[in-house]
């Protein structure tokens, strides 16, 4: 177990390093000169040379890679070409907003997903079960860029309950969080329901009932704990789709998170921000995967001893 953990941490660092190197090399190999973008076509050659030297872009690729790696270890991600603000500051602000959004939608998913899945399984084959299954099928297949506008149409324009976009007050998080959550929620409901149906006919539950436990205690101590295992795996695995969904959702709702920062930086050719965003998104994805694995070993004792 201990050796295993050390190896996985090592692998994690290796993965992040690999992502950084690949994105760095690609960004610098792609045709298109950042100097030209910054100064414009009409700039003089001496200006270009001076700026290139001051940014260190005239050095060999390997040395540049070394310099920016050293910078990152010191918490220095460079300066935004467009707004001249330090990238680290812009990025911390953005990632905070994205995490608020992501965690809100994860909460929505967990609360409603487990509850709805529970009731669907309890009323197996009845109208409630069928209704929940059919509507979750709809939400699984709807892409984020359509669900967002639909929710705006319904709740902001037609009913007028919630703001269309922006980040003012508590109300404005509801629609983006719902947009992110509904697809994941549908998958969670389906999985919870199917797992519970399987479990309720299993030996574990039969034994628990035969022992004379109350229905409530069977549900909480036996069924629910076992359902959590696949749900945690599912949510960990789906975190990537949550992140890519966040890129789209933040663009729709003008939510100042990492996804919107990434898309905006691409449009303004702000290379340092683009690179930092990609690194950060990839790193959080890899780290969440790692944490899922650890959490998995806590929930499922069988994983610990094998």
């Amino acid at each position: 177990m201990k050796n295993n953990l050390a190896f996985e941490v090592f692998y994690l660092v290796l993965q992040i390093f690999g992502i950084f190197t690949i994105s760095f090399i690609l960004l610098h190999l792609v045709p298109g000169d950042p100097i030209l973008v910054m100064l414009g076509e009409s700039s003089t050659i001496s200006d270009r040379v001076a700026l290139r030297e001051s940014l260190g872009l005239d050095q060999p690729l390997f040395q540049q890679l070394y310099h920016s790696l050293r910078g990152i270890f010191q918490g220095d991600f460079g300066v935004s070409i467009f707004s001249q603000q330090p990238v680290a500051q812009l990025i911390t602000e953005a990632i905070k907003n994205t995490y608020v959004l992501a965690i809100t939608s994860l909460m929505i998913t967990l609360t409603f997903g487990l509850t709805a899945g529970f009731f669907a399984a309890k009323n197996q084959g009845q109208w409630l079960d069928k209704w929940i299954s059919n509507s979750s099928l709809f939400f699984i297949s709807i892409p984020h860029f359509f669900l967002g506008p639909l929710l705006i149409l319904l709740f902001s324009i037609f009913l007028g309950w919630l703001p269309v976009s922006g980040m003012s007050g508590f109300n404005s998080i509801i629609l983006p969080a719902l947009t992110l959550a509904l697809g994941l929620l549908a998958v969670t409901i389906k999985m919870t329901r199917n797992c519970m149906v399987d479990l309720m006919n299993s030996d574990v539950v039969r034994t628990a009932r035969a022992k004379g436990l109350s229905e409530w205690s069977v549900m909480i101590h036996h069924v629910f704990r076992l359902v959590l295992i696949p749900i945690v795996t599912l949510l960990g695995m789906q975190f990537g789709s949550l992140l890519s969904g966040a890129v789209i959702t933040e663009t729709i709702f003008s939510w100042d998170g990492i996804g919107k920062l990434l898309v905006d930086s691409i449009q303004t050719r702000d290379y340092p921000i683009t690179q930092a965003c990609i690194l950060l998104i990839a790193t959080s994805y890899v780290c969440i995967n790692f944490l899922t694995e650890i959490l998995y070993q806590f929930i499922d004792p069988r994983m610990r001893h094998s």
């Binding site: 993965q15 690999g18 994105s23 690609l26 960004l27 792609v30 298109g32 297949s141 709807i142 892409p143 984020h144 860029f145 359509f146 967002g148 506008p149 639909l150 705006i152 149409l153 324009i157 269309v164 990537g240 789709s241 992140l243 890519s244 890129v247 789209i248 663009t251 729709i252 990434l262 898309v263 691409i266 449009q267 050719r269 683009t274 965003c277 990609i278 998104i281 990839a282 994805y285 890899v286 995967n289």
Partner: protein, 265 residues
């Protein structure tokens, strides 16, 4: 096959044929009809430049499908070659390739595509590259698993005993056995690619305006939700119906050929 899917399929093909026969101009702008409601001259209304939404939808469909077709061709060729080589030759090569497959597998394809599209700056060629990078892995994984199964079949062993060389076995036994599972997998992945392409175009990383694309239209329509909600609904519903059709085709092929899709081996 699923009746609803067949219906959508018929509607889409009808409009594509009409579009090609009548040669609609999707870029014709009528400025006094900006964001107008559906009418006889533009069945789904007009967009913010006074262009017919229906004509642009069909053009967008053709553009998206072209991109998706090329990506599928590129990704499946790369994936099949890599997967078959890994599965057939095994050993060190297999270990190395499996490492890369796992590395790419650990990221969802759409996230990879967004990241690479971000690095590579917007454009059609870069869109194709980004989507291919995001989607070759599933083909490679399937091809590798299928090759491993076929390699150990008696008829392949018999062929080997009779002196066939590797090239002959690959051509006569391994590749034919890959056909049906890969076609089914390919159909499903086309549905995913349409969403991925639309997402990238929606973010402004894919097909660039003024060329019509499903994602690009979705992006424009969101800006005019208040004035003309039908624009967004038509575009969104068409993307969903398209994806639904393709997934239903995948289900149909899956059942019809009765194939087993095996990824891990």
């Amino acid at each position: 096959m699923n009746k609803i899917a067949l219906f959508f399929f018929a509607v889409w093909s009808f409009f594509v044929v009409v579009r090609l026969a009548l040669n609609w101009d999707a870029n014709e702008m009528i400025f006094y009809k900006i964001l107008s409601d559906p009418s006889t001259d533009a069945w789904l209304g007009r967009d913010d430049y006074g262009r017919s939404i229906l004509a642009r939808l069909i053009d967008g469909l053709i553009n998206s499908l072209t991109i998706v077709f090329i990506v599928t061709l590129v990704a499946s060729s790369i994936g099949i070659i890599i997967g078959v080589v890994a599965g057939y030759f095994g050993g060190k090569i297999d270990q190395l390739i499996s490492y890369f497959i796992n590395l790419f597998m650990s990221f969802p394809g759409i996230l990879l595509a967004i990241a690479f599209a971000a690095i590579l700056s917007p454009g059609k060629l870069n869109l194709i590259i980004a989507l291919s990078i995001g989607s070759w892995v599933s083909y490679a994984r399937l091809a590798r698993a299928q090759t491993l199964i076929t390699k150990n079949c008696d008829y392949v062993k018999a062929s080997k005993t009779m002196g066939s060389n590797d090239f002959w076995i690959l051509k006569k036994h391994i590749l034919p056995a890959l056909q049906t599972p890969l076609l089914v997998e390919g159909t499903y992945s086309v549905a995913g690619l349409i969403i991925a392409e639309a997402s990238l175009s929606f973010l402004g990383l894919g097909i660039q305006a003024p060329e019509a694309s499903l994602g690009g239209m979705m992006r424009d329509s969101v800006r005019f939700l208040l004035v003309s909600p039908h624009y967004a609904i038509f575009v969104g519903a068409s993307i969903m119906s398209l994806v639904y059709c393709i997934n239903a085709t995948g289900d149909f092929l899956h059942k019809y050929w009765n194939v087993e899709i095996i990824h891990d081996r």
